[in-house]
C-alpha cells in the first residue's frame, strides 16, 4: 500500500513538473510573440478603427485569443499574419455585437474614417479624400489594399492573413487601385481633378 502511494505521489509530481514546463514553454513563446507583434497589432487596430476607444480592447482580445490558441499559431513571420487575421475577425465581431453588421469594413471606412478624430492637428484634405475613397471600395479589395499598403505585407503575406491565394490578393489590390484612381483622379493631389465622395456613395467632381 505504502509503495503504491509513493508511486502515485511520484507520478503526480512528475505530471506537475511537466505541466510547469509546458507553462514555461508557452509563456516563453507568448512573450516573444507579444514583444514582436504588440505594435503591429495595435497599428492594425488603429488603421481599421482610427483613434477609437476600443483599440486597446481589440488588442487585448487578439492577444488573449493568441494565448489560448498558442498551439495553432504558425511560427514567425507567419504568426503576425495570423494575428492580423484574428484582429480582423475580432473587429468584425465587436462591430457586429454593437449592432447590425452589414459590411464591416465598408461601414467603417464610409462612416468612421471621415469622422475619426484627427490625431495631431487636422487631417489634410488629400488624406481625407483618400480615406473617403477607401470607403467606397469593396470590402475584400480594400482589406487586401490596406494589408499591402498600411501593414506593408507582400501579396503572399497578405494571402496568409486573408486565407486566399497571393494571386487573388494581387487581383484585388489591382482592382482597388483602379477604383481609387477613378475616384481620386490620376495622381490626385497633383493639381488635377479630385473627386468629392459623399457618405451615401455618390461621387461628384470638384
Amino acid at each position: 500500500m505504502g509503495t503504491h502511494h509513493a508511486a502515485a505521489a511520484r507520478a503526480m509530481a512528475a505530471a506537475m513538473a511537466a505541466a510547469a514546463q509546458r507553462r514555461d514553454q508557452a509563456e516563453l513563446r507568448f512573450r516573444e510573440l507579444y514583444q514582436a507583434n504588440f505594435r503591429p497589432v495595435q497599428g492594425y487596430a488603429v488603421n481599421r478603427l482610427g483613434a477609437a476607444d476600443d483599440v486597446p480592447d481589440v488588442v487585448a482580445e487578439v492577444f488573449t485569443i493568441a494565448w489560448r490558441r498558442l498551439a495553432d499559431i504558425p511560427p514567425p513571420p507567419a504568426d503576425r499574419f495570423w494575428l492580423y487575421g484574428t484582429a480582423r475577425r475580432v473587429i468584425a465581431r465587436r462591430h457586429r455585437s454593437a449592432g447590425r453588421l452589414r459590411n464591416l469594413l465598408g461601414r467603417l471606412a464610409a462612416e468612421r474614417y471621415p469622422t475619426q478624430q484627427p490625431p495631431a492637428g487636422a487631417i489634410d484634405p488629400v488624406t481625407e479624400q483618400v480615406l473617403a475613397a477607401l470607403g467606397q471600395l469593396k470590402a475584400r479589395d480594400r482589406e487586401a489594399l490596406l494589408l499591402v499598403h498600411w501593414e506593408q505585407l507582400s501579396y503572399a503575406e497578405a494571402a496568409l492573413a486573408l486565407g486566399c491565394s497571393a494571386n487573388a490578393v494581387g487581383i484585388r489590390v489591382h482592382k482597388a487601385k483602379a477604383r481609387m484612381r477613378a475616384l481620386l483622379g490620376e495622381e490626385a493631389g497633383g493639381g488635377r481633378r479630385v473627386a468629392v465622395i459623399r457618405s451615401n456613395g455618390a461621387t461628384d467632381g470638384s
Partner: protein
C-alpha cells in the same frame, strides 16, 4: 503625389504614437493574459469544446459542466481515428441565464443546426457559404424573410440585447445569444462562411448574425 504615396501617408497609425510592448499598459495587459492558464499543447480544434473558456480549476469546470445542457444534435465529440477527440461540426449549448452558445467548427449540416437552434428557443435561418470573403449581404435570404422595418437604432438596441456585449465570447467561431431577447415573430439569421469545405475553421471561418422573420418559410 502618386497613389501609393497617398495611400501610405493616409494610414492612421502613421500619425499616432503607438504603445511599446514594454509600456506600462502593455505590460499590464501581458500580465493579465498570462495569469490565465496557458493553452494546451495540442491544437484548439480538439479541445475547444472541452475548454470553452479559461477555466482555472477543475472544480469550476465541473460546476460549469453541470450547469450546461448539451442539446441533442450537438454532440460534444467522439473518438477520432487516431485516438483524439473529433468535435462535431457545430454545437449548441444552453447556458445559464437563458443564454445559448453556438459554436461552428465546420460548415456542415446547416439544417441540423437550424433545427437544434429552434429546440433551444432560437428560431433561425442558418446558411453556410464557402467563400473567401464575406458574401454579398442577404444573397441567400429572400426579401420576405428580412426583419420588419425598424430603425437602425432600434435594431442595434435589439441586437445588443440578443448578443449581449458584456458576455465574453469564448472563441472566434462562437456566438452567444439570449433567446429570451428575441421578440416573438422574429428569429436569427446566422451566416457562416469559409474558403472551402474542410478548411481549418480556426483560421478562416467567419460569422454574421442578423434578424429574420420567424416564419415557416424563413426559419423552418
Amino acid at each position: 503625389m502618386d497613389l501609393d504615396t497617398m495611400l501610405t501617408e493616409a494610414a492612421p497609425a502613421r500619425h499616432l504614437a503607438l504603445d511599446e510592448p514594454d509600456s506600462p499598459a502593455a505590460t499590464r495587459l501581458y500580465e493579465q493574459i498570462t495569469t490565465q492558464p496557458p493553452a494546451p499543447i495540442w491544437p484548439s480544434r480538439r479541445r475547444r469544446f472541452a475548454s470553452p473558456t479559461l477555466i482555472g480549476v477543475a472544480t469550476a469546470a465541473v460546476a460549469a459542466a453541470v450547469a450546461l445542457a448539451l442539446l441533442p444534435g450537438s454532440q460534444a465529440g467522439h473518438r477520432g481515428g487516431q485516438g483524439g477527440v473529433k468535435l462535431a461540426a457545430w454545437s449548441v449549448i444552453k447556458e445559464r441565464h437563458g443564454l445559448v452558445k453556438v459554436t461552428i467548427r465546420e460548415l456542415r449540416d446547416p439544417a441540423g443546426l437550424q433545427k437544434t437552434l429552434r429546440a433551444a428557443g432560437v428560431p433561425a435561418n442558418v446558411r453556410f457559404v464557402h467563400h473567401f470573403f464575406q458574401p454579398p449581404n442577404s444573397v441567400h435570404l429572400p426579401k420576405s424573410c428580412l426583419a420588419p422595418q425598424m430603425s437602425d437604432k432600434a435594431i442595434a438596441k435589439l441586437m445588443a440585447k440578443i448578443e449581449p456585449s458584456n458576455i465574453r465570447v469564448p472563441s472566434a467561431d462562437a456566438v452567444i445569444l439570449r433567446s429570451s431577447a428575441i421578440p416573438h415573430g422574429l428569429g436569427m439569421y446566422l451566416k457562416a462562411w469559409a474558403p472551402k469545405p474542410g478548411t481549418q475553421p480556426a483560421a478562416s471561418l467567419s460569422m454574421e448574425t442578423d434578424l429574420v422573420q420567424a416564419t415557416p418559410q424563413c426559419t423552418g
